[in-house]
Each structure stands twice: as structure tokens, then as C-alpha cells.
């Protein structure tokens, strides 16, 4: 019997877990995949929205603003990469200017600070790379960019350090009402490993949150996966754009954005296509063409020959286009965090804080007196002075052995990514934590070495090492093994 089961280890589930760990109780995060941050949280624009475009009065607007204000301090407290770079929404013609004005008005109502409509000249000063088409822009100085892996892993590690248990490869098959040992009502969660009884449930299952919700409630919801293709450019394009550059919203959301990432890459995306498959993260050539065409409206000379990878992510879109948050009316102590699409990454800490507070209040959980609010991030040799780095290598020589040459990631960093409390178990797990394999050769050189390190650290056969859990084994066997 536990107090709370959180289903889903994406950014929302991990944020709930982190804030819940400030209370005293027994908390379990169940995740169907092998790691945190494997669904919507890993494949998105990685931006912290200012909050001007969510409809005034919506939950999206409320939590966007709250989340946006939390990130600067939270990124220091939990030591993950965040940068306040500001955003621009471009008007591509004079007809678009009233749309900018409407956005600004909505933003002011939402409580966004510092919004300003800038003319072409000032736009060029702010963002010199912008092309000849845009005529004006809405400037939002409070927007930012974040490493979504870094934030999710930070929430999870901090939650773990404060006593939250994480169960990976654990898919929830069913949720039914039951009773605890004292005969009080509780929830019974069925997994392949058996049943777990819990007083409360938090549903943070991303594109699957409708399935879980509909297991317990008569008021059905439907999550439609809305797919977005992205292109990621080489770090050598770093500095091409300084701000996150949107175009005025069309009927499919915010349109194509071009943004720097916190690691110095440039990201272009997303497209928007509603699909049926909740795992349908396949990219299409039509998607790529669409991105290049739309991004080409904002910039004349995008360095598209520096694309190093492309990917697709799914937004958990709900028909009413708002977050569904809080206790479900006909399912006591079952809390939804559903329909978390953009600006979900921005909103996540605010949602986490609020849901944790609600759950703790309903369960009467006292404060966790031993709660540690801070967390130290991964050792980052690249941020060190030469003296600091020399001292580190003298102490731990494996930090002097570079394994991933493109991102200059050392063996020490890779071993640390694996040895941490919620350690990486796959090539993608290592990549999301310390960027080995994230660079321009896309793991061509370093993957054999990282496989060996993973096998050594986990004490398993190298043939069992996967790209991303499940049956994504990298190799199928050994040479001459069928002779």
C-alpha cells in the first residue's frame, strides 16, 4: 500500500513527483518505458513560452505564466540548462499586424510582462538573421529555452533523492477501485508485475492519459496525438538565431519556429498532423519540405545543409484544447494531468507544484522535514576552467578520456550518467543525460564504446544493450556465432 502512484515519468509526472517529495508519504512513479523523458517530453521545441498566446482565462494561460516565472530559479536550484533568450512572433505581411496586436492584448491580460511590438528596423537589430519578408514582430523578453531532458531528469533525480520510487518498464494495465487493509477505499493498479494498492493516483501519462482517465471516469476524454516533425542543425549554426522566432499563429497552432537550443544547436519545427497511432513518431518527407518552406519565410539563408538529425514528437492534444487538471469528479483521489500539450513543458513545474499541493491536502500529508530542494547536476567539464578540469582529471582520470568526439564527452561523464540514482540504461539514456551521441556524427564513432561501458556498468551482456529499451537491441549477436 502506498500513498500516491504517479503514472508517467515525463516532465509533468516527474515535476509532480518532485514537488510531492516535499511532503511525507510513500510515492511511486510508474513508467511504461525504460527511462524518464521518453515520450512527448523528449521531442518538442524545448522552449519556455512567455504566455501571450494561450487563451485568456484558460488553464494553459494560468500555468504557462506561473511556470515561466518558476524556471529561472528552478534551473539554478536543480542545476539544469535554461536560458532567458526572449521570443519574437513575426508578422509576414502588413495584414498580420492586427494579429500581433491581438496577441499582445491577450498576453497583457494573461499577465505577460514587457511585451512590445517592434518595427522592421528594430526587428533587424534584435535578430539580424531575419529575412526580407517579415515586416514587424511581437517581442516577448520573458520567453526562454530549456533542455527538456535536463529539466525532466533533474525533477526525477531530486524526487528520487527525496525518497520517491521509480518503476520503469512498468505499464499500467488497469485501475480499479478497491479497499485497503482497514477497509477504506483505495485504487488498485494492475501491472504485468502484479497489483499495487494506492490511496491516490496522478495520471500524467501523456498521449495515453485518456486511456487511464477513461478506466475510472464516466466522463470520457479523448487525446489525439498531434505529430510534429523537427529538424536539428549542427552546433556550428549556433548564434544564427538568438531569439525563439515564431510566425503569427495559423489554424494549426503556433506555426514553424526557429530557435537556438541551450546547447547551441538550431531547431526548426514543428509541423502539425493529427494521427491515430500513439506511438507514431515517424517523420515524413512532406513534413521536412513543409518545415523548410515555412521557415524559409522568416529567414532567407537558413543553413539547412547543417541538418544533423530529424525527429517527430507527439503533442497530447485534447479536443477542448486546454489542460485537464485536478481530481476527477466521479473518481475521488484520482488526479488528472491530461491534455498536456504546448505550453506543457513551460507549465510543468507549476502543474507539479499545484497537483502535489492538492494531493497532499486531500491525503493530509505533512511536510517532509528532510526535504532537500536542491540537486547537483552532472559534472560538466566544458563549463570548468582549465585549472578545475586539470584537478578533476588528476582526481578521476576517466574525465580525461574523450569518448564522444563531436560533443567532447568523456568516459567519466558517461559512467556518471549510468551510476546516478536514476541511471541511464540505454544509448539514448546516456545521450539525453550527457549528450554523448547527440552530435554531428550521430553516435557513429562512440556507440561501440558506450555499449561496452553500459554492459560493464550494468553487468550485462553487450548483446542486451539497447538503443532505447524494449527490443531495440543494438546488435543481434556475435561474429561466427552461427558457425
Amino acid at each position: 500500500m502506498v500513498d500516491v502512484v504517479i503514472i508517467g515519468a515525463g516532465v509533468t509526472g516527474c515535476a509532480v513527483a518532485r514537488f510531492l517529495s516535499a511532503y511525507k508519504g510513500s510515492f511511486v512513479v510508474m513508467e511504461r518505458n525504460e527511462d524518464v523523458c521518453t515520450g512527448t517530453s523528449k521531442a518538442n521545441s524545448a522552449i519556455i513560452h512567455a504566455g501571450f498566446d494561450a487563451a485568456h482565462g484558460s488553464l494553459m494561460a494560468k500555468y504557462n505564466i506561473l511556470g515561466n516565472r518558476m524556471y529561472p530559479a528552478l534551473s539554478k536550484e536543480l542545476d539544469f540548462a535554461y536560458k532567458n533568450n526572449g521570443s519574437l512572433v513575426l508578422a509576414l505581411s502588413d495584414e498580420d499586424i492586427p494579429k500581433l496586436e491581438a496577441l499582445m492584448e491577450n498576453g497583457i491580460k494573461n499577465g505577460v510582462q514587457g511585451l512590445e511590438i517592434v518595427d522592421k528596423k528594430r526587428l533587424k537589430e534584435l535578430e539580424p538573421s531575419v529575412g526580407h519578408v517579415p515586416v514587424a514582430a511581437l517581442y516577448a523578453p520573458t520567453a526562454g529555452i530549456v533542455c527538456p531532458f535536463g529539466a525532466t531528469i533533474a525533477f526525477a533525480e531530486n524526487a528520487c533523492a527525496n525518497g520517491v520510487e521509480f518503476c520503469f518498464d512498468t505499464e499500467v494495465k488497469g485501475i480499479t477501485p478497491g479497499t485497503d487493509d482497514e477497509g477504506k477505499p483505495c485504487w488498485v493498479i494492475q501491472t504485468a508485475e502484479g497489483a499495487v494498492r494506492t490511496r491516490a493516483v496522478v495520471n500524467a501519462a501523456g498521449v495515453y492519459s485518456d486511456i487511464l482517465h477513461n478506466m475510472v471516469s464516466s466522463q470520457k476524454i479523448q487525446i489525439i496525438p498531434r505529430k510534429g516533425d523537427y529538424l536539428l542543425l549542427d552546433r556550428r549554426t549556433g548564434g544564427y538565431v538568438k531569439h525563439t522566432v515564431f510566425q503569427v499563429p495559423g489554424k494549426y497552432g503556433k506555426g514553424v519556429l526557429v530557435s537556438p537550443t541551450v546547447h547551441g544547436n538550431t531547431i526548426i519545427g514543428p509541423t502539425a498532423e493529427d494521427i491515430d497511432d500513439k506511438e507514431g513518431v515517424d517523420t515524413t518527407s512532406e513534413g521536412f519540405d513543409d518545415l523548410m518552406e515555412k521557415a524559409g519565410l522568416a529567414f532567407d539563408d537558413l543553413p539547412l545543409r547543417d541538418v544533423i538529425t530529424s525527429f517527430a514528437g507527439l503533442r497530447a492534444h485534447e479536443a477542448r484544447h486546454d489542460f485537464i487538471l485536478g481530481e476527477v469528479a466521479d473518481a475521488p483521489l484520482f488526479f488528472d494531468c491530461a491534455g498536456i500539450e504546448s505550453p506543457g513543458l513551460t507549465a510543468a513545474p507549476a502543474i507539479g507544484e499545484e497537483i502535489a499541493r492538492e494531493v497532499a491536502e486531500k491525503l493530509g500529508l505533512p511536510a517532509n522535514e528532510g526535504f532537500v530542494a536542491t540537486r547537483k547536476g552532472f559534472t560538466d567539464p566544458k563549463s570548468m576552467s582549465q585549472e578545475e578540469l586539470s584537478a578533476l582529471i588528476a582526481r578521476s582520470p576517466e574525465y580525461g578520456r574523450i569518448v564522444c568526439r563531436c560533443e567532447q564527452v568523456s568516459e567519466g561523464e558517461i559512467r556518471e550518467a549510468i551510476r546516478r540514482p536514476i541511471g541511464a540504461r540505454s544509448l539514448d539514456g546516456v545521450k539525453r543525460r550527457v549528450r554523448a551521441g547527440m552530435g554531428r556524427c550521430q553516435a557513429g564513432f562512440c556507440s561501440p564504446r558506450i555499449m561496452d561501458i553500459l554492459a560493464e556498468e550494468w553487468g550485462v551482456d553487450v548483446a542486451d544493450i539497447t538503443k532505447s529499451g524494449g527490443h531495440s537491441e543494438v546488435i543481434v549477436g556475435f561474429v561466427k556465432d552461427r558457425m
Binding site: D282, S285, R401, C441, Q442, P448, H471, F478
Partner: protein, 432 residues
């Protein structure tokens, strides 16, 4: 932090770096350091266990490791210093003519090294799936051919059992044979272009001999499988290289190998702000293989991608000798020799030349100009013009983008041109 000064630092201990080191030593230079990021010297040759190396250099057929060992032995015989498992983090211009190299390894930690001259010999990397924008899922089982080669030949791992290959570069062709010999079934090799990117001998020996079909003007239009590759769909492409609807063929497989081009690995060179070629992705060099930064030389696949290692060794030999001459000139108090080169221009289908510029007054015996063509061509005459006068012609029955071409200009051919104002390579149809 360790600080040391050398006359010459060579970045990369593969075939180019080794040959440059030996040549510089034999030209009299004794203060040489080779920095190699892998655990052994020899570079990518160590995973090329097939034969066919060394026909030009040693007049015999060697495997990759055997070829490398010949040069490793020469380096060791000369007691040339090298550091393994050592990553160069940055290179930059120091005071005066000095160059600074920041490198790191486990034993020495962070090192700040200085040198009078550098030879860049970092080699190349493979173009990845991402750079091609191949649509579909992103499961396990997609490898660049060189990664698969390392897994099989160095690690002893089998990357897959049913294989589709995209691209007909030499490594892909070699791996088609290698995977077959390991018991895998190679279903097809698809090539986007209407001609192969690899050497003719590899098509014959690695595909034809094993009945592996080569489908020219085809590409991958879809990758299926969410965890591991389950199928790959290929389609024919039209003259615009776009897939033709209705020509799709689906191959059930667990592996996709990519052999779609090599990219010189020049992040350090770019950091040094040397002038770069948009065609080769390598630095622009003069007849001494010196980049736009005096005293910094480049050779091998970091300069432009080669198809034969023999040519890499030969090119790197020149870079090593040039570096030694540069150092000798500094030592003699003469400073860097001023360079008065002209741009080598070209027409008729040449994509680039190495060198990009030449100062013919500096030619000792001959100048070798290497180039590639952009398309398959038959019955051509290649000519070199100095100041508009044809000084050299060469008949070529067939030229293809996959095979590097060369012209050799002898010193005696330029002697009647004390002032060279223009230098042009022209490919023309052979009407004879």
C-alpha cells in the same frame, strides 16, 4: 597543467599523420609529436581487414592493418613521439608564428602544447541518416557502414542478419561482402545516383560476386519498425532525384547500412579560422598543402576524401616535407616564405582541385593536382593551361565521381613561364 613545445605537432595518427611524421623526420625535423584520439595508431585502417591496400606504395596487396603497420614501424624506428587516447580540444594561433594546441588524456590530463607548424590529419566521418533527411521511424538497426565495420571487425559484434544498404560508397560495398561472409543476407544495395560512388573493383568483388543487386537511381523512402528495423522501403528516383510514386519495393530486414558519403572532420580547422572549401569541406591549400594559416598543413581525408590510401600517404608525405621546410625556414631566421600563388580555375565538369592555389615557382620536381569530376564522362581530354597556353593534355576514356583524378605538371613544363598569371584545368570532349 602540462605545457610543452614542439616544432611540429601532427593531429591524427592514421595513414596521413603517420606518413607526414615520417616524411618530416626524414627531411631532418626531430621535434615531432603525433596526437591520436584512438587507443592505437593506424586510424580507420585498423578496421579495414580486407586486402587491396598498398598496390601503389608497396607494389603488393596488403590488408588495412598490415598497411598501417608498415608506417607504424617507420614511426617507431625513428622514435617519433606520439600520444594515444588523446583528444585535441582546440587549436589556435599563438604569439608570432606559434600555434597552440589544447589536448586532453587520462595520463597527462589537460595539456597546453605549442608548435611552429601543424599537420592536420584528422580524417573524416560518415554522413549520418540525419544529414539525409530519410523519413520514417528511428529504431535500432540503422548504422553507418563504417560503424558496422568497426562492430564486426574490431568488436566482434554482428549488427544484423538481414541487411539493406543505402549508398554504394566503398565502405558500404566492402560491408556488403563482409556481412555476407558473416552469414547475414544482404538483400539489396540502393544508390541514389545513376552511377556508383565506389570503385569499380569493389562493385565486382563485393556485390556481383555475391549476387547482391545494385539498384541505381533508387533511395530509401521509409524505415519501418519502432524498436528495431523491421522493413525498409526503397523507390526509384527520377532525374530530379525525387522518388517516383508507384515504384516502392518493401524489404523485410533488421538492418539498414548507410554508405552515403564521407565528410572531412574539420571542426578544429574551422576553429582556427582557416579558409574552407564549400565543395570538399576541407581547408583550401596551396601547392605545399599549406592552409590559409601559414605553418598549418593538411593532408589525407581531412583535406578531401580519397578512395585509395596510397594517395593519402603520398599526399601526407608532401605535407610532412613542407612542414619541415617551413620550420627550417623559421629556424634559419627567414620567417615564413611569402606565397605568390594563383587560383587554379576549372571548367567542363571538374568539381574541385587540391591544391586550390599554386605558386609554380615553388615546384621542386613536379606538381600533382588532384581533382574529381561531378558526373560520369567518357572520351574526354583534360588540359592544363598556364596564362592561356595549353601546357599539358591527358586523354581519359572514362571518368567517374567515385574515382579521384590527377594531373602531374613537371617543373620543366613551367620553366618557360616565369610569371604565371592564370592556371586553368579544362575538360573537353575528345573529338579525335
Amino acid at each position: 597543467m602540462e605545457q610543452k613545445a614542439y616544432h611540429l605537432i601532427i593531429i591524427g595518427g592514421g595513414p596521413a599523420g603517420l606518413s607526414a611524421a615520417v616524411a618530416a623526420y626524414d627531411a631532418g625535423e626531430r621535434s615531432i609529436l603525433i596526437l591520436e584520439r584512438d587507443t592505437r595508431l593506424g586510424g580507420i585502417l585498423n578496421q579495414c581487414i580486407h586486402n587491396g591496400f598498398g598496390l601503389h606504395t608497396f607494389q603488393e596487396e596488403l590488408t588495412g592493418p598490415e598497411y598501417a603497420q608498415r608506417f607504424i614501424d617507420q614511426v617507431k624506428d625513428r622514435n617519433i613521439d606520439y600520444k594515444l587516447d588523446t583528444m585535441v580540444l582546440s587549436i589556435s594561433k599563438g604569439e608570432g608564428n606559434a600555434k597552440q594546441v589544447v589536448a586532453v588524456n587520462e595520463a597527462d590530463g589537460l595539456m597546453q602544447l605549442t608548435a611552429d607548424a601543424l599537420v592536420l590529419a584528422m580524417g573524416c566521418r560518415e554522413r549520418s541518416r540525419g544529414a539525409l533527411n530519410i523519413p520514417g521511424f528511428r529504431p535500432a538497426g540503422i548504422f553507418s557502414a563504417g560503424t558496422a565495420q568497426r562492430l564486426v571487425n574490431i568488436e566482434g559484434y554482428l549488427p544484423g542478419r538481414r541487411v539493406v544498404i543505402l549508398g554504394s560508397g566503398d565502405i558500404g560495398l566492402i560491408m556488403a561482402r563482409r556481412m555476407t561472409l558473416e552469414g547475414a543476407k544482404v538483400l539489396v544495395c540502393a544508390e541514389l545516383m545513376p552511377y556508383s560512388g565506389g570503385l569499380k573493383r569493389n562493385i565486382v568483388q563485393c556485390l556481383d560476386d555475391f549476387d547482391i543487386p545494385l539498384k541505381l537511381s533508387h533511395t530509401v523512402v521509409r524505415i519501418e519498425g519502432k524498436e528495431r528495423v523491421e522493413a525498409v522501403v526503397i523507390a526509384e528516383v527520377g532525374p530530379d532525384r525525387k522518388p517516383i510514386k508507384g515504384t516502392e519495393e518493401r524489404y523485410e530486414c533488421d538492418t539498414l547500412l548507410l554508405s552515403v558519403g564521407l565528410l572531412p572532420e574539420n571542426e578544429l580547422t574551422i576553429g582556427l579560422e582557416a579558409d574552407m572549401s564549400r565543395v570538399t569541406n576541407g581547408p583550401l591549400v596551396n601547392e605545399s598543402l599549406e592552409t590559409s594559416i601559414p605553418g598549418v598543413f593538411a593532408a589525407g581525408n581531412v583535406l578531401h576524401v580519397h578512395d585509395l590510401v596510397d594517395y593519402v600517404s603520398e599526399e601526407a608525405h608532401l605535407a610532412g616535407e613542407s612542414a619541415a621546410a617551413y620550420i627550417a625556414s623559421l629556424e634559419a631566421g627567414n620567417g615564413p616564405v611569402p606565397h605568390a600563388g594563383v587560383l587554379i580555375t576549372f571548367s567542363g565538369g571538374v568539381r574541385y582541385t587540391v591544391p586550390a592555389t599554386a605558386d609554380v615557382s615553388r615546384i621542386e620536381k613536379w606538381l600533382k593536382i588532384r581533382y574529381r569530376v561531378g558526373d560520369v564522362m567518357t572520351n574526354r581530354v583534360v588540359s592544363l593551361y598556364l596564362n592561356g597556353n595549353r601546357v599539358l593534355t591527358k586523354k581519359r576514356r572514362v571518368m567517374a565521381p567515385g574515382e579521384m583524378e590527377e594531373l602531374v605538371l613537371l617543373k620543366k613544363q613551367v620553366e618557360e613561364y616565369p610569371v604565371v598569371e592564370s592556371m586553368e584545368i579544362r575538360i573537353e570532349e575528345d573529338k579525335a
